[in-house]
């Protein structure tokens, strides 16, 4: 039971309290670039969730069972980048083939998931912190769902901002960035949420 509770707490913690976009500032590029429409942000978020999960499932055993025993742990970043790039190509292939509308909205930005530092950041932090496989999965799940949650929420806000009466100087990105800052402050308020829980 304790394992299950700590698994859930780890997910919630990396999803909200230590949010990948608003606390760690990873993945800012798609956060600002693909958040004008709810559909495209949802598509990008789901694609990132899939890539992060799959990258963790592949990178953790690759590091712990091949790179470390062989004494070539220094190659981790190169190996992770190649794994992530391959997964992104695979995801792109499926979207191209089975979801033309999503391909149209993400289009040329789809391969940029490879350069989304959130994906590499999760894989790297899992091994750097020496997390177990289960904790790595929890971290990946929380981080990726946190990314999805924030990018979709942000796109909903941006859609409403477009039709709102914003002063000319704040139109577009300035007011969007102010909203992002307010969202970050809101998440800071959740710090210490689990401090009273004893496992």
């Amino acid at each position: 039971m304790n394992i299950f509770i700590s698994f859930v707490l780890a997910i919630i913690s990396s999803m909200l309290i230590d949010n990948v976009v608003l606390s760690r500032f990873y993945g800012i590029c798609p956060f600002l670039g693909v958040s004008r429409k709810v559909n495209s942000s949802l598509g990008m978020g789901v694609a990132v969730v899939f890539v992060i999960m799959l990258a963790t499932v592949i990178c953790w055993p690759l590091y712990n069972f091949i790179l470390v025993p062989a004494g070539i742990a220094f190659m981790d970043t190169v190996a992770y980048i190649l794994v992530i790039a391959s997964i992104v190509q695979l995801v792109g292939l499926f979207i191209k083939k089975y979801s033309p509308s999503l391909y149209k909205s993400l289009g040329i930005y789809l391969p940029l998931i490879t350069t989304n530092c959130a994906v590499l950041g999760v894989a790297q932090s899992n091994t750097d912190q020496g997390l177990s496989f289960l904790n790595s999965i929890a971290n990946a799940m929380g981080t990726s769902i946190g990314f999805l949650l924030i990018i979709v929420t942000f796109s909903c806000i941006r859609v409403r901002l477009e039709s709102s009466n914003t002063p000319k100087a704040f139109k577009g990105l300035p007011i969007a960035l102010i909203c992002a800052a307010l969202m970050a402050i809101a998440l800071v308020g959740l710090q210490g949420l689990f401090s009273g829980i004893k496992l």
């Binding site: 070539i72 190169v78 190996a79 190649l82 391959s86 292939l93 149209k104």
Partner: protein, 65 residues
């Protein structure tokens, strides 16, 4: 483990990962584009949010201007 064996394993791992990447890359390129997606271009406002001027999309935009 000796340094030579580590080096061989490093090369094998690198070549294997590069091979997998190339296979997926070629498969992605060979998959036909969906209808209506033949001339997709970078969105000006999307690129305005990104400060990376070395990106291929930003470069294309600059060349067109």
């Amino acid at each position: 483990m000796s340094k030579e064996i580590s080096l061989v394993i490093a090369i094998v791992v690198l070549v294997a990962l590069l091979g997998i990447f190339l296979i997926t890359f070629v498969a992605y390129r060979k998959t036909p584009l969906p209808k209506g997606c033949e001339n997709l271009k970078a969105d000006d406002e999307k690129c305005a949010a990104c400060s990376n001027t070395q990106c291929v999309f930003n470069k294309k935009e600059e060349e067109e201007k």
